[in-house]
C-alpha cells in the first residue's frame, strides 16, 4: 500500500512536469471516446429508428406469387443449362395467370400457428387523376381487420380512418407524399385507372405518413375486393403477408414456409438486405474512425511516457539501485497511462453526452431515405462502457510498452554515463 502510494507520487510528479503534454494526451483520449459515443448515439439511433419503422410498417414476412428460380424452358431439359451452344430464341413465356394458388387454403392452415398474423393482399399499379394531375401508385388491396395486426399503418394515419375503407365503396388511403403530389385531401374524389384498364371514382378516406419517403410517395391502400375488381382478378391474391410475435425469427420461419409452399417467401431482413448491409458498412466506418482517433491518442500517451522515461533515466537508475523492482518501475509508468486514460475517459463520456444532447436538439428538415425533423439519438449505457473499455485498453497498452523498456533498463549503464 505504501509502495503504491509512493509509486503514484512519483508518477504524478512526472506528469506535473509535463502538464501541457499531459493535457493534450488527455484531450486526445477524450476526443476519441466522446466522438465514439456521439457517433454511436446518432448512427445507432438512426438505425434503430429505421429498423423499427421497417418492422412496423412492413410485414415481417411476405409470400410472393413467384418462384425463386424461373422455370426452365423445355429445350434446356434436353440440352443442359442455358448459356450452352443451343438456345432457342423467341420463345414466348406461357401467359400464366399470376397469383398465389390456393391462397385461401394456405391462409387457413397458417392461421393456426400461434403468434402469427396473416393478411392476403393483391397489389397492382394504378394511376390517380385529380384535377389535371396524374400520379402513379402501388395500390395495395387489404382487409383492414387483418392489416391492423400485421403493420402499424393505423398509427401512421394522420387524417381519416382505416376502417372508413369498409364504409365507402372504392375508398382509398393515400401516402402523404402522394396526397401532396395530387393536391388531394380527405373527402376528395379521385379517378383511379388500373393497369387492367378499369376506371373507378375513388374517395380519399385517409392519409398516412410513415416518415419513409419512398413509401409515403408511392403507396396507397384500398379494400382487397375493390382492388380485385380494379385489377380484373377476382379471388386472386399476389402476396400473403405475415407478422410474428418475434420479428427476429422472420428469416427462419420464411425459409420453412417457402420449403412447404414453394412460393418465394421473403423475410424483412432479406427484403431490406441492402439497407441493413449499409448499416454494417456504417458501423465499420464508425469503428474505424474511432479506432483511428484512439490510435492517435495512443501515440500521444506512448510519446509522453517515452519522453518522461528518457528524461528521467537517472531517477529510474537510482530508484532501481535503491531497491525498487522492475515491476515497481513498470507500475510508475503504467500508472501514468492509466491516469491519462481514466481522466480522458471521464471527459470523453461527458463530451459524448453533451454532443448527443446537442445533436438531439438540432432541428433539421431532412427528406432523404426518411423524412424527419430531427436526428434520432439513443442514449445507450453500453456505448459508454465500450468506449471506456477501448480507451482503457488502448491507454494501458500505450503505456505498457515504454514502461517495460524502463523496467528493463540497467542502472549501471546510466550511472556510468552520469559521472558529471
Amino acid at each position: 500500500m505504501t509502495t503504491s502510494n509512493l509509486l503514484f507520487d512519483i508518477a504524478l510528479t512526472h506528469l506535473y512536469g509535463r502538464a501541457r503534454q499531459t493535457i493534450i494526451s488527455i484531450l486526445g483520449v477524450a476526443l476519441g471516446v466522446g466522438f465514439f459515443i456521439a457517433m454511436a448515439a446518432m448512427m445507432v439511433g438512426f438505425q434503430r429508428f429505421f429498423t423499427q419503422k421497417i418492422i412496423d410498417v412492413s410485414p415481417h414476412i411476405v409470400m410472393e406469387d413467384e418462384y425463386r428460380e424461373r422455370p426452365r424452358q423445355p429445350v434446356s431439359w434436353f440440352f443442359g443449362h442455358e448459356g450452352t451452344v443451343i438456345s432457342l430464341q423467341g420463345v414466348k413465356p406461357k401467359e400464366e395467370i399470376r397469383g398465389i394458388k390456393n391462397a385461401e387454403k394456405i391462409v387457413d392452415v397458417l392461421r393456426q400457428t400461434p403468434g402469427m398474423n396473416i393478411s392476403p393482399t393483391l397489389e397492382g399499379q394504378i394511376f390517380y387523376r385529380y384535377g389535371s394531375t396524374d400520379v402513379s401508385s402501388t395500390l395495395k388491396g387489404i382487409e383492414p381487420k387483418s392489416e391492423k395486426k400485421i403493420t402499424k399503418i393505423e398509427e401512421d394515419i394522420v387524417s381519416g380512418n382505416l376502417d372508413d375503407l369498409l364504409t365507402h365503396s372504392y375508398g382509398v388511403i393515400l401516402g402523404s407524399g402522394l396526397a401532396d403530389d395530387l393536391n388531394a385531401e380527405v373527402g376528395d374524389t379521385l379517378t383511379g385507372i388500373s393497369v387492367a384498364g378499369i376506371i373507378k371514382k375513388m374517395k380519399v378516406v385517409g392519409i398516412f405518413h410513415t416518415g419513409i419517403t419512398e413509401l409515403d410517395k408511392s403507396v396507397s391502400y384500398s379494400l382487397l375486393k375493390d382492388v380485385q375488381v380494379l385489377q380484373n382478378r377476382s379471388n386472386v391474391v399476389n402476396s400473403i403477408r405475415f407478422s410474428l410475435a418475434d420479428p427476429n425469427k422472420a428469416e427462419e420461419i420464411a425459409k420453412q414456409i417457402e420449403e412447404k409452399y414453394k412460393y418465394k417467401t421473403v423475410s424483412w431482413q432479406e427484403a431490406n438486405e441492402g439497407i441493413l448491409s449499409v448499416f454494417v458498412i456504417q458501423d465499420t466506418v464508425r469503428y474505424a474512425t474511432t479506432g483511428a482517433i484512439l490510435l492517435v491518442a495512443c501515440f500521444g500517451i506512448f510519446n509522453i511516457i517515452s519522453t518522461v522515461i528518457n528524461e528521467k533515466a537517472r531517477d529510474i537508475a537510482i530508484l532501481k539501485s535503491m531497491g525498487f523492482t522492475e515491476s515497481d518501475i513498470q507500475k510508475i509508468f503504467v500508472f501514468q497511462g492509466i491516469l491519462i486514460g481514466v481522466v480522458g475517459m471521464v471527459i470523453g463520456w461527458w463530451l459524448g453526452y453533451m454532443l448527443s444532447i446537442a445533436m438531439g436538439s438540432i432541428r433539421i428538415k431532412m427528406e432523404a431515405i426518411i423524412t424527419t425533423e430531427h436526428l434520432y439519438i439513443v442514449y445507450d449505457i453500453m456505448h459508454y462502457v465500450y468506449g471506456g473499455i477501448a480507451c482503457m485498453v488502448a491507454a494501458t497498452v500505450a503505456a505498457w510498452l515504454p514502461a517495460r523498456k524502463a523496467a528493463l533498463m540497467r542502472p549501471v549503464d546510466i550511472i556510468r554515463g552520469a559521472a558529471g
Binding site: T2, T325, D328, V412
Partner: protein
Amino acid sequence: MSGSGRPLLEVKNLTRVLPLEVPVTLVKDVSLSIDPGQFISITGPSGSGKSSLLYLLGLLDRPTEGEIIIDGLETSKLSGRKLSSIRLGRLGFVFQFHFLLAEFTILDNVMIPMRKLGKWPENEQEGRAVSLLKDLGLGDHLHKVPSQLSGGQRQRVAIARAVSNEPLVILADEPTGNLDTKNSKIVHDIFRDLVDKKKTTVVMVTHDLDLASKTDRRIHLVDGKIASGN
C-alpha cells in the same frame, strides 16, 4: 545480525567479463573479505575497474564468475527481485552525481527508501528523515528542492538518503569527485562518524589519496586485480 567473527561481505574469485566482440575484463579473480564496522577505500588508476567492482559488490551488476556473500547470503543465484530487496534493506549507495529526484523536496527524497521499505511506521518516517538531515547540517533546507542547494549540500542529502534505512554497508563511488577540499572533508567526516558511531561499513572508491590514507583499509586495484590491500 552480523558480528561475532563472520565477515559482512565476502567475495570469492570474482570475475566480470563484458561479452563484447572483443571481450573486456572489468574485474579479474578478486577475492576479498570485509568485516563489519570498517571504513575501506578502493584506489587505483583510471580504468582499473574500481567502479565495476563496486557495482558488483552492490548487486547492481552480476559477476561472470565467482561468489558474493553478503551478511551470510550467497547472491549469485538469487532472482532480481531478491537482489532488489537486499539492496533496499542492507545496502546504501552514494555516487559522484547526487541522483536526487528533482521534483521532490530534500525531505521527500530522504524519505523515499523508508517509504519503500516500510520498516519504520509511517508516522516516524518524517521525524527520522528530519533528524538525519539536521545531523548533516541541512536542517534549514528541508523543504527546498535539490536545485536550490549547493553541490556539497546535495551530496550530503544523497548520503542521508543512502543511510535512511540503516544499511549494513554504504557503497560510495567517488562521492567527493565533484566537491572542493572543504566539502570533501565534510563528506569524509560523515562517513567516519557512521563507521565509528553506527558501526556501518563504508566502502569508498576515491582518487583522493589524502582521504584514502585516513581510512581503515586501502585496497589498490590495477587492471581489475587487487594489487595491494588484501
